[in-house]
Structure formats: structure tokens, C-alpha cells
């Protein structure tokens, strides 16, 4: 789960990481009021979960409340790489002597020391580009959470990145707290780009990017309320609310599978058969009729979907329950136009096939194998498009 900058900064405050004074606003007027409170110069920043908002005009300075209100009205509602700006963060602007980069993230490639720490004296720039063009400008340390972040890790980052000595204490302290935020907050990523050394010698996190490990949500019940479902697409929101593993794509063939691997594979064979998958939807293990019905409902609410492919290999999942779920969904949804190609194998497959056969529903097209089913679903989707 990705946090917005303003949420990440709230988390930073909790862990004692210095951030500029500021507050989030969802209207130009609110932005002006915050600027009044802060006094003097402010910076108004679009709250979107995508990089490059600066270049896209999503970050602007303002020297008066009126100006803040005016730039906020320009930024709010902007579309930045497909993300609509619904909020701006209004912060006190400070004097900046130099800018650095630092992050901690979970690194699957080094499983014995799975927390990767990075720092660079190049701050405020696209770090992926720095990594590609000047890899030596980024210092890296791998930390085992069993051992924890130790002074030598911090030294390796400070010296390795070439952080100037005057900033060692401030940056070192930020690194410690960022690490603490990652491990205590179950972060998958805690990134500050840039952190600034100010004229008065303080080091402050100007930006904040935090992603939380969804699996650890149970340890952080307070984070649940931060999830901004409004940022999600309509179908994604509905899927999320029903606890489905759903990813929206752009095509015409809706797809339901059981198990992440089989579902991905189903998308691939649909693409190979010349179709375009409309989504990824894994009903998981042990799905029942209700899950199936919800899933079909979510997918068919996408108008672009011309056909639906249900590809089930029953293990824990029972094919008879899947078949019942399909019928229930058709009943609940009423006026369904899209044909549903169904391939059932594994646990109780015969019972499932029989249920569908007996129902003899006009929308249901049984298919004997995964490849046949994919071909059929693609053919039907194309037919309905014309």
C-alpha cells in the first residue's frame, strides 16, 4: 500500500523525522488558509502517487496566501500521468544549502540481509537515472533485520555517498529514523528525495515516499484508514471492498482464474490467441460461490469486457462451487450480454460441468481445455466487438 506524501510525512513525524511545517488541502481556499497560518513563502505540491510531478507542473512556489490559493487552483484537478490531483500539500518553503537522497527498502535479491539502504549526494533528481548513469554516486548497504542498522552501516552510507561532513550528524540521524520507520512500520519502502541541508545546518525531509507491506496491515490497524480508495478505479475499488485479487487492464476478455500463476498464465494464453485481457482476477484458494459471483460482477461492470473466461483448476477450490457461483452471478446480475467460457478441471470438475450442463444457460460456453477456452473467449470477444 502506497502512502501519499502528506500521509508519509505524518508517519515521519511519528518517528521523529524532521519535515517542513505544512498541511494538506483539497480546495484552493483551504490552501490559502494554510499558507496564511504558515506565513511567508510556501510550496504547493500535488498529492499523487507517481513520480515526475515537478516536471509536470505539480509543484509550485507561492510567496503570499493569495498566490498559494491561485497555484493550488491550478494544481488541483490536474492530470499527472493518469493520476488526478485531488489534494495539495502546502508547506513552508525553506532555504536549502544542498540536497541528498536516501532510502531503505525490502530487497528480495539479498535474502540474508533483506533491507537495502541507499544514499546519494545527488538529491532531488531522478535517482533511477543516477543509478543507471553514475552507479558509483549511490552508496548501498544491505542490512539484516536480525542485526539491525548499526553505526557502520550509517558510516558506509555517509562516506560512500560523499555526504559533506557538516551534514553527517543530521543525515545520520535521519537514516536511523528512516530505518526505524521501515522496520517498526512494516514499510516495503521509505524514501526521502530530497532531504535538504538548510542554511541553519539542519537536515529535513523535503519529500517522503512510503510504501507499506500489505501483509503486515494487521500490525497497523491505524493505516487501514489511510488507504484512499478514491484513487482507485471503479472496478478496483469494488474488488478491493470484496477482498478480491484484481488488477484492471485495458482489453476486452475478462479473466477469472484460481491461483496467481494460473491466472497470469491464462492472461498470457489469451494474448497468444490474439485477444486482449481486460483484467487479472485471482479468486484464490478455496473460493466459494459468493466469491465467484462477486468476481464476475466486478468484471462485467467494465463496459469494455466483451467475453469472460473462467479458468479453474480445482485443488482446494471445488469446481462444483465455482459452477454454482457462476449461475448465481448470472441470476444476480440479470441482464448479462457477455458470453462466459468456462473450463473446469481438478477437484469435483465433473460435478461442476454437470451443474453447468443442467443449467443450460445461454451465456455459458463450456470448454474442455485451457487453450481451447482461451481461443473460444477471444473469438467470442472479437465477434461481439463487430
Amino acid at each position: 500500500m502506497d502512502l501519499f506524501e502528506y500521509q508519509a510525512k505524518d508517519l515521519f513525524r511519528k518517528y521523529g523525522i524532521p519535515v517542513p511545517d505544512g498541511k494538506v488541502a483539497s480546495s484552493p481556499k483551504q490552501a490559502g488558509a494554510i499558507a496564511t497560518k504558515l506565513g511567508g513563502n510556501v510550496v504547493v505540491k500535488a498529492q499523487v502517487q507517481v513520480g515526475g510531478r515537478g516536471k509536470a507542473g505539480g509543484i509550485k512556489l507561492a510567496s503570499t496566501p493569495a498566490e498559494a490559493e491561485s497555484v493550488a487552483s491550478q494544481i488541483l484537478g490536474m492530470d499527472i500521468k493518469g493520476h488526478k490531483v485531488r489534494r495539495v500539500l502546502v508547506e513552508r518553503a525553506g532555504d536549502i544549502k544542498s540536497e541528498f537522497y536516501a532510502s531503505f527498502l525490502l530487497d528480495r535479491s539479498e535474502k540474508n540481509r533483506a533491507v537495502l539502504g541507499m544514499a546519494s549526494a545527488r538529491g532531488g533528481v531522478d535517482i533511477e537515472e543516477v543509478a543507471a548513469t553514475e552507479p558509483e554516486a549511490i552508496a548501498r548497504v544491505s542490512v539484516s533485520p536480525l542485526v539491525g542498522l548499526r553505526p557502520y552501516h550509517i558510516r558506509a552510507l555517509l562516506f560512500g555517498a560523499g555526504i559533506p561532513a557538516e551534514a553527517h550528524k543530521g543525515v545520520g540521524s535521519l537514516l536511523e529514523k528512516m530505518y526505524e520507520a521501515l522496520v517498526s512500520g512494516d514499510g516495503a519502502l521509505v524514501e526521502v528525495n530530497p532531504m535538504a541541508l538548510t542554511g541553519s545546518g539542519d537536515v529535513v525531509a523535503l519529500d517522503a515516499k512510503v510504501s507499506i507491506d500489505d501483509n503486515a496491515a494487521f500490525r497497523h490497524p491505524d493505516l487501514e484508514k489511510l488507504l484512499d480508495v478514491s484513487a482507485l478505479d471503479k472496478q478496483e475499488r469494488a474488488a478491493k471492498e470484496r477482498g478480491l485479487n484484481y488488477v484492471k487492464l485495458d482489453g476486452t476478455v475478462g479473466i477469472i482464474g484460481n491461483g496467481a500463476g494460473l491466472t497470469m498464465s491464462t492472461l498470457d494464453v489469451v494474448a497468444q490467441a490474439g485477444g486482449t485481457p481486460a483484467n487479472f482476477l485471482d479468486i484464490g484458494g478455496g473460493a466459494n460461490a459468493e466469491t465467484m459471483a462477486s468476481g464476475i460482477g466486478v468484471i462485467l461492470s467494465d463496459r469494455k469486457v466483451k467475453s469472460l473466461l473462467v479458468n479453474i483448476f480445482g485443488g482446494i477450490t471445488r469446481c462444483d462451487l465455482v459452477a454454482q457461483g457462476i449461475l448465481e452471478a448470472l441470476q444476480q446480475l440479470g441482464d448479462v450480454k457477455a458470453p462466459i467460457v468456462v473450463r473446469l478441471d481438478g477437484t469435483n470438475a465433473e460435478e461442476g460441468r454437470k451443474i453447468l450442463q443442467d443449467a443450460n444457460h445461454p451465456n455459458i460456453v463450456p470448454s474442455p481445455t485451457m487453450l481451447d477456452a482461451a481461443a473460444e473467449a477471444v473469438k467470442l470477444a472479437k465477434k461481439r466487438r463487430h
Binding site: L106, N112, F218, G259, M370
Partner: protein, 290 residues
């Protein structure tokens, strides 16, 4: 022969009295797996299904009935603790089915288990089966049978699909291992390939990968150097968009890293065949052993 698991493996099931634990343990027992004990704290002294002794701790199960492998079905928030417990009790093989364990928990478990020389399969995996001998986990036993093909996969149902496609064509497996779809899993492709390489009964290996990380790429390089048997690979997720998690916590393309195309290319460049679909993968594997 088979690897890691056979009819003599003495299995203790952690979380045996839970609903998942009970359901799958019954299936494993019915398959012939030698389940010698269960563990549920506070239920020590009971008999599960009137036959399997339940202990309060894994340590007791090891001392009392000689369990040497543990199968874990406990809920995600308790699973890391269960793995630590099994590791300390001295079993040599731990299979953790549980899905949804926080990554940082695994980042603590992994180095500990590793340093103690224990094989951990999973978490978030279907377990492993040595067809005709024993089944530890949730792989349906009835879709496969003994044979010359070793199978290792990051996936669950996709694995069943490939097993089934082989078995319905009359070719079975030595051992099938689902290593799990999380970012940090105890056993990776390389660990399993190394074991299959040394198993005389395994004549060819099917490897089923998916997007995310670089385990497939590493496996391809490793296999080129160390495995003197045919390998057929399959990779799921060619159509996966960047930055979206495809079900598995570990199945995510980050930037240009971890794409299915790169993984398939890694195998092909090392001279291994890559199936375009589960069906083709099964057919290639059958060709390799016929």
C-alpha cells in the same frame, strides 16, 4: 528416488487442529504420508482424528515421536514464530503453506533458518509431493503419479495444471515442489535444481517461474553450469503491467526488472526450451524423457 520427501519422512503438522490444518492433513494422511504428530499449544495430550498425538510444542513432537519434517498451517501472524520454533526443534525440513506473512518477518526468519542448515519450503506455497510416496501440503495427490520428471514452481494451481497435463499423457513426476510466490522464500529454484541434478530418478526438470525478482535468471545461469539434465521452463506473466502485484506478493514487475520476457530469454539463451503455454511445457518435458 525422490528429493526431500519420501514415505519415511516423519511429519509433524503445526496447526493440525485448525480447519485448514485438519482438512489438508487428512488428505496427506490418506495419500500415505507418515504424519507422526501434530502441534497445537494448549492441546497437548489430545489425539487428532483419534490417531495422531498432539503436542504443545514442536520440540516435544521431535523428542517423543522423532518428527523430522514440519508442515505449517498456522495463521500468518503466528507463522514466523512457528518456523522459528520448528527450526529450533531440529527438524531438517520445514514446509510453510501459510499465505500473507509480513516480508520483514521472513527477512528475520530466512537468515536464521539458513544459518542452521535447515530446508524451508515456502511460505505461501502449495508444499511438495513425491508422487506415490508422500504428500506434504495442499497439492492434489490425485492429479499426478510417479515418474521421471522433477518439477519446481513459484506457483500453485499453475503447477497442478502442468502436472496434470503430463500425467494425463502418462508421464509422472519424481518430486514436485512449489517454492512459493512471496518475495522472500526459504528455498529457491537453484536449491531445488541442485537436488534434482543429483537425483538419479529425475531425468528431466520442469521449472515454472513468473514475473518479479531475478530468481529465474539466476536459475538459468546455475542450470547451465550445474545441471546435466534437460530443463524445460515456463514463465507466467507476459501480459502483466509494470508496478501491479499479480496476486502473489512477489509477482510484480518493477521498472524494467522482473519481466516474463527477460526470464524466458534467460533460459533460451542458456540453451533451455521454454514452453509458451502450460500445455506446450508439458509436451516439451515429455519429449525430453521419451
Amino acid at each position: 528416488m525422490s528429493i526431500l520427501l519420501n514415505e519415511e519422512t516423519k511429519v509433524v503438522v503445526q496447526g493440525i487442529t485448525g480447519s485448514e490444518g485438519t482438512f489438508h492433513t487428512r488428505r496427506n494422511v490418506a495419500y500415505g504420508t507418515n504424519v507422526v504428530a501434530g502441534v497445537t499449544p494448549g492441546k497437548g495430550g489430545q489425539k487428532w482424528d483419534d490417531s495422531v498425538p498432539v503436542y504443545d510444542t514442536v520440540d516435544e513432537a521431535v523428542r517423543e515421536v522423532g518428527a523430522n519434517a514440519s508442515l505449517i498451517f498456522v495463521p500468518a501472524r503466528f507463522a514466523a514464530d512457528a518456523i522459528f520454533e520448528a527450526a529450533d526443534a531440529g527438524v531438517g525440513l520445514i514446509v510453510c503453506i501459510t499465505e500473507g506473512i509480513p516480508v520483514l518477518d521472513m527477512a528475520r526468519v530466512y537468515p536464521y533458518v539458513q544459518s542452521r542448515g535447515i530446508t524451508l519450503i515456502g511460505p505461501n506455497c502449495p508444499g511438495l509431493i513425491s508422487p506415490g510416496k508422500a504428500n506434504m501440503g495442499i497439492i492434489p495427490g490425485e492429479i499426478t503419479g510417479p515418474g521421471p520428471i522433477g518439477l519446481v514452481s513459484r506457483s500453485g494451481t499453475l503447477t497442478y495444471q502442468v502436472m496434470y497435463e503430463m500425467w494425463t499423457r502418462g508421464v509422472g513426476q519424481s518430486t514436485c515442489i512449489g517454492i512459493g510466490g512471496d518475495p522472500i522464500v526459504g528455498t529457491n529454484f537453484i536449491d531445488v535444481l541442485g537436488r534434482f541434478a543429483e537425483d538419479p530418478e529425475t531425468k528431466a526438470v520442469v521449472l515454472i517461474g513468473e514475473i518479479g525478482g531475478d530468481d529465474e535468471e539466476r536459475a538459468a545461469s546455475f542450470a547451465k553450469e550445474n545441471v546435466d539434465k534437460p530443463i524445460v521452463a515456463y514463465v507466467a506473466g507476459f501480459t502483466a503491467p509494470e508496478g501491479k502485484r499479480m496476486g502473489h506478493a512477489g509477482a510484480i514487475v518493477s521498472g524494467s526488472k522482473g519481466t516474463a520476457a527477460a526470464k524466458a530469454e534467460a533460459f533460451e539463451s542458456m540453451g533451455f526450451r521454454v514452453g509458451r503455454s502450460p500445455t506446450e511445457t508439458a509436451l516439451f518435458a515429455i519429449e525430453a524423457v521419451r
